[in-house]
């Protein structure tokens, strides 16, 4: 289905993620798709987006695509090159608006696993990289946006390991655990859809489907019951300008796309 479209699934993910980034906000950017999305957002609608990279880069102009969260492009023409304590503590003080995260598994409350697959922590069935900055980002940023591929192996009723806090066991659980109030997962951007979280129950909810994807496709690729509202939106496909920027300016070497 996707191969006949004039864009690939990664390009679509990047475009939809970029559209979630408003102008003039601070956003914690991790490796991969968030970097491309931030770079696209800066060129499209958010010239004053302030990217924040965990090892110390603040306010970079993302002319060239960073390939690592500590490399020089993460503070190229930035406003500050500090260190990890400064960045994490800035987020802890409430200065970082958005955070972008990925993971191997997600549950209905937006809890994320990037540590181990299987019931046992050690030795595990499959060892994944670990938290990195994800746990800090998910603890401190006002709104977390998760970018993942969607299928029933990844969208599961319970994650094997809660690496990064979503809404934990439901409404009030973050605050009960001691996390700063008013924070938590905001959106989930997938190859199939844009999802959010119900205000009351904090349970994952379908907001809009991607081009060519039906509500039933989304349901079939989710390992738990989603909230399906009466009105489901439709995401616009990547525009010609978005694709041009991605292919010609942002990732001409096709490192990611």
């Amino acid at each position: 289905m996707m191969s006949e479209l004039p864009y690939n699934p990664t390009e679509l993910l990047i475009c939809i993620a970029a559209r979630q980034m408003p102008d003039g906000v601070t956003a914690f950017i991790g490796t991969g798709i968030p970097m491309l999305a931030a770079s696209l957002a800066q060129r499209m609608h958010a010239p004053n987006l302030v990217p924040v990279f965990e090892f110390g880069g603040t306010g970079a102009q993302l002319k060239k695509l960073p390939r690592a969260v500590g490399e020089s492009r993460t503070f190229y023409r930035g406003v500050c090159a500090s260190g990890i304590c400064d960045i994490m503590e800035t987020a802890a003080r409430g200065f970082v608006d958005y955070g972008f995260l990925g993971g191997a598994q997600i549950d209905p409350y937006g809890n994320l696993n990037s540590t181990v697959i299987g019931p046992q922590h050690h030795p595990p069935k499959v060892r994944l990289p670990g938290s990195g900055g994800a746990n800090d980002v998910g603890s401190f940023c006002w709104k977390t946006i998760i970018i993942m591929r969607q299928d029933t192996r990844r969208f599961v009723p319970r994650v094997d390991f809660v690496t990064t806090a979503g809404y934990l066991s439901g409404p009030g659980a973050r605050e009960e655990a001691g996390l700063p109030p008013g924070t938590g997962p905001y959106r989930v951007v997938t190859n199939l859809a844009l999802l959010g979280f119900d205000e009351e129950t904090k349970w994952m909810k379908l907001l809009a489907t991607n081009p060519g994807v039906t509500v039933d496709d989304v349901i079939a690729n989710t390992g738990f019951e989603l909230i399906i509202p009466a009105e489901v939106g439709q995401n616009e496909p990547p525009s010609a300008e978005e694709l041009r920027l991605l292919r010609e300016e942002i990732d001409p070497e096709r490192f990611y796309i």
Binding site: I84, M88, L128, G130, S131
Partner: protein, 323 residues
């Protein structure tokens, strides 16, 4: 202060703060020449079973010439506290790691680390204690402050906390729950910098990662530097010094010391060789072949640079991003 919850992970080396003060009391304040080779620095200060940490992350400012030498000398049963990535991946693949305070070990764009998977899933790494990046850095910060822990608001509510050695308590001032992150004092730290003098005064350009915190949380600190400068240069720009000499035990002159990783403003990362390592690291035979080619069969870092090729290095230098 009431402990509400304790992580089940082991505190691999409980911080002995008074012992650390005594250690620091006997460390020399004299300006002595600490310039030595990788071979000498590693054989003098790194030992089997030591608690070792490296600084910065991914492919950036990695102390690779020192790590190659650790592998060459076969220092084993290492207890590692990481961020770092490329160098830790190699130590894991070489089978030298016994315990791990882990935050993230993966190869960013290239994907997961087979070295980590194999060493941990097989149980060869006996203990794995989880932390966030902030968490492990604050552990160094606590040690650098000379206090046993720092209260933070990360890791709360998660399995990352549960499998750490942190504790949740009720704050005696505000009543909120906070996560206490225990101080981490390393036996040996490795930090690669842009320039240092022969006494160990060290300067870094660009982001400083957690060099400030980690350098103050080590009993022994080995600095490798792209350039050895005259102390007069340090004295002219003391505001650029992140690590003062008295923290440092060894200074190693290591041009292209981060290769195949990068060094901000100096040289670009070597994509071709990073891919070579990634592909080799997928099999035991590949790892042996890579290590034979770049580590075991070359006597030192200079010879390693010859194997990589001077022209290729010059091209990486030419490709470095400007300001």
């Amino acid at each position: 202060m009431r402990v509400i919850e304790s992580g089940v992970g082991e505190l691999i080396q409980p911080p002995d703060l008074d012992g650390f003060r005594e250690w620091n009391r006997q460390k020399s304040r004299a300006l002595v020449d600490k310039l030595m080779t990788e071979q000498e620095a590693v054989s003098r200060f790194v030992y089997d079973g030591c608690y070792l940490g490296t600084e910065l992350y991914g492919t950036v400012r990695c102390p690779m010439s020192l790590v190659h030498e650790i592998i060459r000398q076969g220092k084993k049963d290492l207890r590692l506290a990481g961020q770092g990535v490329t160098e830790l991946d190699m130590l894991l693949a070489a089978g030298l790691v016994k315990t791990l305070d882990i935050t993230y070990i993966g190869l960013e764009v290239y994907g997961t680390s087979r070295g980590l998977r194999k060493a941990v899933e097989s149980g060869q790494v006996e203990k794995v204690v989880e932390w966030s990046n902030g968490g492990i850095t604050w552990r160094f910060k606590a040690a650098s402050m000379g206090v046993p822990f720092i209260p933070v608001r990360a890791m709360l509510g998660t399995d990352t906390f549960k499998y750490s050695a942190a504790k949740v308590v009720e704050c005696p001032f505000t009543g909120i729950k906070v996560c206490l992150i225990p101080a981490l004092i390393l036996d040996v730290g490795l930090i690669h910098v842009h320039r240092a003098d022969r006494y160990g005064n060290a300067q870094i350009e660009g982001i400083s990662g957690f060099a400030f915190e980690m350098s103050r949380a080590c009993k022994r600190l080995i600095i490798s530097a792209e350039e050895i400068v005259d102390t007069e240069e340090i004295r002219r720009y003391p505001d650029r010094t992140i690590i003062p000499y008295y923290l440092v035990d060894a200074v190693v002159h290591a041009p292209f010391g981060s290769h195949p990783g990068e060094m901000v403003y100096l040289y670009e990362r070597d994509e071709e060789q990073l891919r070579e390592w990634y592909e080799c690291s997928q099999t035991d035979e590949g790892i042996q072949a890579y290590l034979n080619k770049y580590v075991y069969s070359v006597p030192d870092h200079n010879a390693y640079l010859d194997v990589v090729g001077r022209e290729r290095l010059a091209a990486l230098k030419a490709a470095a991003e400007g300001r």
